[in-house]
């Protein structure tokens, strides 16, 4: 049981979940933006930022080959010359990685050859976060263009769009209901121009099929940076710029709620 972390201290680290012991250290030339294990847990990928003259790269290491770790030599390193990668997730079977870029593009990179298998240009501005559904068949992308979009993981077909009036920082798909949750707000530096009233920043719930908002949860007094559903779908958590992580458990009415159809 391992944990993979990437940081702006120019390194990606592997840890043992039970003991907390660091198992591997991979140094990079620039900040590590996003990382993840494939379905088997044997291959890791992470992306580095375009910084200080260094390009953005998407690197792949096979954990079964200790030589790669020791030499800090990924078996595959894909350069991204234009817009850097801002968020990425693995496909359902570890064959490819779906990456979101600074310009709103989503590219599907093969984990074997490194070539781009599919492209999707649906968002107009930076993609802030990508999260998969629990079965990895689809993912939701949260973007600065005030929308979140649902895509099929394999075909990159654009399925649904959820519209708001503020940039969306993070979105997640419920494991048990046809719901998605989104959190956002404003750029940290623009916060003073928006409402400074207590609890104005809300997590918003949309129906995945109808694309309609059906609920909001107030509480954060700063922009929400990250949202996630509990794997059992009975609660969700949100973390915000205000320095708080909030965990909410759903009332029974949440599971019975239905929009008239």
């Amino acid at each position: 049981m391992n944990v993979l972390t990437g940081s702006a201290d120019n390194s990606c680290r592997l840890w043992d979940c039970e003991t907390g012991k660091q198992l591997a250290l991979l140094n990079t030339n620039s900040a590590v933006r996003t990382c993840g294990f494939d379905f088997s847990g044997n291959i890791i990928m992470f992306s580095t930022d375009k910084q200080m003259g260094y390009q953005c790269y998407l690197n792949f290491f096979d954990l079964r080959d200790p030589q790669q770790i020791e030499d800090n030599q990924p078996y595959l390193s894909i350069p991204c010359n234009d817009a850097k990668i801002t968020s990425a997730v693995w496909g359902p079977l570890g064959e490819f990685v779906n990456a979101g870029h600074e310009n709103g593009e989503i590219n599907q990179f093969s984990a074997k050859s490194g070539e781009i298998l599919k492209k999707a240009k649906e968002h107009s501005r930076q993609i802030n976060d990508i999260q998969t559904s629990v079965d990895l068949t689809m993912f939701i992308s949260a973007s600065k263009d005030n929308t979140a979009k649902l895509f099929d993981s394999t075909s990159l077909e654009h399925i649904k769009t959820f519209k708001t009036e503020r940039p969306v920082n993070s979105a997640a798909i419920s494991p048990i209901m046809d719901h998605v949750v989104m959190g956002g707000g404003q750029e940290a530096m623009e916060v003073t121009t928006t409402s400074t009233r207590i609890g104005k920043f809300e997590a918003r719930f949309f129906h995945a099929a109808y694309e309609e908002e059906f609920g909001r949860v107030k509480g954060h007094f700063g922009p929400i940076n990250c949202v996630a559903f509990h794997p059992d779908g009975k609660s969700y958590s949100s973390g915000g710029e205000d320095g708080y992580v909030r965990i909410h458990y759903f009332d029974p009415q949440y599971f019975d709620f239905e929009l008239e159809a």
Partner: protein
């Protein structure tokens, strides 16, 4: 593109071997191209820097700078020289500086000297008279004279100011330029009928009024001005009537009766109308920044700070809308108090105020009423009655003459009421919308005090002798507004956070009664419904968009709400709906407009990317007579039933539509999920393989692997005394 370019290029290249020389050559071409071929300029720069580098000498840089400076100076000097040359006094070739004065008294030789003195006194105001000629016949002057000035500009001044000068009862001077006679004499006797213009049929210009559901239209500017759209207002959601990119360059204006939409462009304004918003008319006025319509929609006034010359006034132009003709141009020093020209309610007159003068013009001649302006020493402000051709104006205190407000009837110029005011600091004129009342807000410093108090002087226009009643206010006034169609007014007074809203009723018996006062209000603006009775008190901008909906028939607060950071409030022309909006021009986020009912019930929230402005399309005055309106009000119950039924039908239609839409979306989504699930099941074996045979598809797939452990830990200790045992 300069054809000599290639030749000069080769010269540059050839002289590269001589760096110093190249420097001078380069800079000369540099300037040449700046003036003649801007395209070539860029290219020269590139080559220029290349040759700099090739000279390999940094010492050249200051020299280069000095040379450039030299050439810049030469050009600037040349410009100045040209300016001076232009103003050089020209030797008059005579004719341009001569004026002819008619209607001069015919006198004999004994009174000639006196006449000449009088003429001289009057006409030397405009310049130096170099020659004068008094033609005679039979021992008397003929009745017209010739005067020559030192310069043609002086002659023009004389014509402008002395023409129409009343010397006495029988003699009013007519002054003309000598050259004008020539000009008018050479006009051909042949009359050419003007060419008949083909009739441009713009269709039904009142098409929007005929909407069967009586929806009003409004214009919306969004995307920071890039897009303008016209919507029909429906309670459910706005219906797009028209949407265009770059329709206007700055903002838009509706004409007073809603017939035209005016858009602004660098070269002038355009008017659009009819069912499809075709272009009706175009007015060319370079750099136009402000416009105003006459209330009858016959004329439009445009202002541009750019084009104005002494001979041909172009700052303000009045146009005839139907023909597109320029009717008259005026000078304008500053546009600070637009509109400079104020129209009478029927469009018969328009007036403007300049230093100590009130100039009233009449239409359609565009000439001064009675051929002269009114001299009103010290006039500070004036305003037309919205119901009659009456002007109200006020002058401040002058030595021992108190300040006063005067009501003047036009065109007779009869002063129908004068009111003296004492210790006045400032006055503001507020007319009630029908012209039934005038409120003059007077700020005074009473004798012996330092502070400023405010009185409202209420003039009852419909009563004989126009009686005036006074309402004294103790706090400072933030806002004042008359009820349109009614006899109430609302005042916001006090200082934040103790702002009060007071409602007064001007009764028939001469009393002005305070109906109600609400205290501790978050409001800085008053918005009455155009039909009266209802109003919104709003705290805009810095007060964060607090809204209060009031019914003034019994002064109750119907609803208190908020539109955070609202910058504007606009009632629709029927008084049924209110729009509050957050404009991108005042706040860069959350730009949207919200639709409320007149009772304060929120109906819609419309977000628009970088929303800037919403303006309701005005309605023309009703064609119904007062009797017909009475009849309709009597039968209102009958009509209500029909409307309610219609509403119910459309509501259920809407819900049915929504339900159908949702059903379709769900079916589509289900189908997609089923296909995805199928593929997922087919891939199960691959997943098992990837995870070494462990099934992780469900949370409880490998529940045998789970260990359950119960842990207890200490939270809190509470000691409860049980009393004496």
């Amino acid at each position: 593109f300069n054809p000599n370019w290639s030749r000069q290029m080769t010269i540059l290249q050839e002289s590269r071997s001589a760096p110093g020389f190249c420097l001078l050559k380069g800079s000369f071409s540099f300037h040449c191209h700046q003036v003649f071929a801007p395209g070539g300029f860029c290219y020269v720069s590139v080559n220029w820097s290349k040759s700099l580098v090739s000279t390999n000498s940094i010492l050249m840089l200051p020299l280069y700078f000095l040379v450039c400076l030299f050439f810049v100076c030469v050009f600037v000097f040349a410009e100045l020289l040209l300016d001076i040359l232009r103003e050089k006094p020209q030797e008059a070739d005579g004719i341009d500086s001569v004026v002819v004065v008619d209607n001069v008294p015919q006198v004999g030789p004994e009174r000639l000297e006196k006449l000449k003195n009088v003429i001289h006194k009057i006409f030397s105001k405009f310049g130096k008279i170099t020659t004068e000629f008094y033609p005679e016949a039979d021992g008397m002057t003929k009745g017209y004279i010739f005067l020559e000035y030192a310069a043609p500009t002086q002659a023009l001044e004389a014509v402008k100011n002395a023409d129409g000068y009343k010397l006495d009862k029988q003699h009013t001077f007519r002054v003309n330029l000598f050259t004008d006679f020539d000009k008018y004499m050479t006009i051909s006797d042949e009359w050419e009928t003007p060419e008949k213009q083909p009739f441009k049929d713009f269709g039904n210009m009142r098409h929007w009024i005929e909407d069967p559901d009586c929806r009003d239209q409004y214009s919306v500017i969004y995307e920071a001005g890039e897009r303008t759209a016209i919507f029909s207002n429906d309670a459910k959601e706005p219906i797009t009537a028209e949407e265009r990119a770059r329709w206007t360059e700055t903002y838009v204006r509706w004409s007073p009766k809603g017939t035209y939409l005016a858009t602004f462009h660098q070269r002038g304004i355009a008017l659009w109308g009819g069912e499809k918003f075709k272009q009706i008319q175009r007015f060319s006025h370079q750099g136009v920044s402000l416009i105003d319509f006459s209330p009858c929609e016959r004329y439009v006034v445009t202002f541009s700070p750019l084009m104005d010359t002494k001979e041909d006034p172009q700052a303000i132009i009045i146009w005839d809308i139907l023909t597109g003709q320029k009717k008259r141009g005026f000078h304008c020093e500053s546009s600070a108090h637009w509109p400079i020209f104020k129209w009478s309610h029927d469009g018969k007159f328009f007036a403007r105020m300049t230093q100590d003068t009130l100039s009233i013009y009449e239409t359609p001649s565009m000439g001064l009423l009675d051929k002269k302006s009114l001299k009103i020493s010290g006039i500070k402000d004036f305003s037309w009655s919205p119901g009659d051709n009456i002007i109200a104006f006020w002058v401040p205190e002058d030595k021992d003459i108190p300040a006063r407000v005067t009501l003047m009837q036009l065109p007779s110029r009869q002063e129908i009421r004068v009111r003296n005011l004492f210790n006045v600091v400032d006055c503001k004129l507020h007319w009630q919308r029908n012209g039934d009342y005038l409120c003059v807000k007077v700020d005074r410093t009473p004798k012996g005090t330092q502070g400023v108090v405010t009185n409202f002087e209420i003039f009852r226009m419909r009563e004989k002798q126009v009686p005036v009643d006074v309402v004294e206010m103790k706090d400072s006034i933030i806002a004042f507004a008359w009820e349109p169609n009614g006899s109430k007014f609302a005042v916001l007074h006090g200082e934040s956070p103790r702002i009060n809203a007071s409602f007064y009723h001007v009764k028939n018996n001469g009393k002005i009664e305070l109906i109600k006062m609400f205290d501790k209000q978050q409001a800085n603006s008053i918005f009455w419904s155009p039909q009266g009775q209802f109003m919104v008190l709003a705290g805009l901008r810095s007060m964060n968009g607090a809204l209060a909906f009031v019914d003034t028939s019994d002064c109750t607060m119907m609803n208190i709400a908020e539109h955070y950071m609202a910058s504007d409030v606009e009632w629709d022309p029927t008084g049924r709906y209110v729009v509050t909006s957050v404009s991108w021009w005042s706040h860069k986020v959350d730009n949207a407009y919200w639709l409320w009912t007149f009772q304060g019930r929120l109906l819609q929230k419309n977000n628009k990317d970088r929303f800037c402005q919403l303006l309701w399309r005005p309605r023309p005055p009703t064609l119904l007579s007062t009797d017909q309106i009475k009849m309709i009000k009597k039968d209102l119950k009958k009509y209500s039933k029909i409307f309610e039924q219609k509403d119910r039908l459309s509501q259920s239609k809407a819900s049915k539509e929504l339900v159908d839409k949702r059903r379709a979306m769900m079916e589509e989504y289900r189908r997609y999920r089923e296909t995805a699930q199928q593929i997922y099941q087919e891939q199960k074996s691959i997943r098992l393989e990837l995870r070494g045979g462990v099934d992780t598809d469900e949370l409880d797939s490998n529940v045998d692997d789970w260990e359950e452990e119960t842990i207890e830990f200490f939270i809190n200790e509470e000691i409860i005394p049980l009393g004496d045992l």
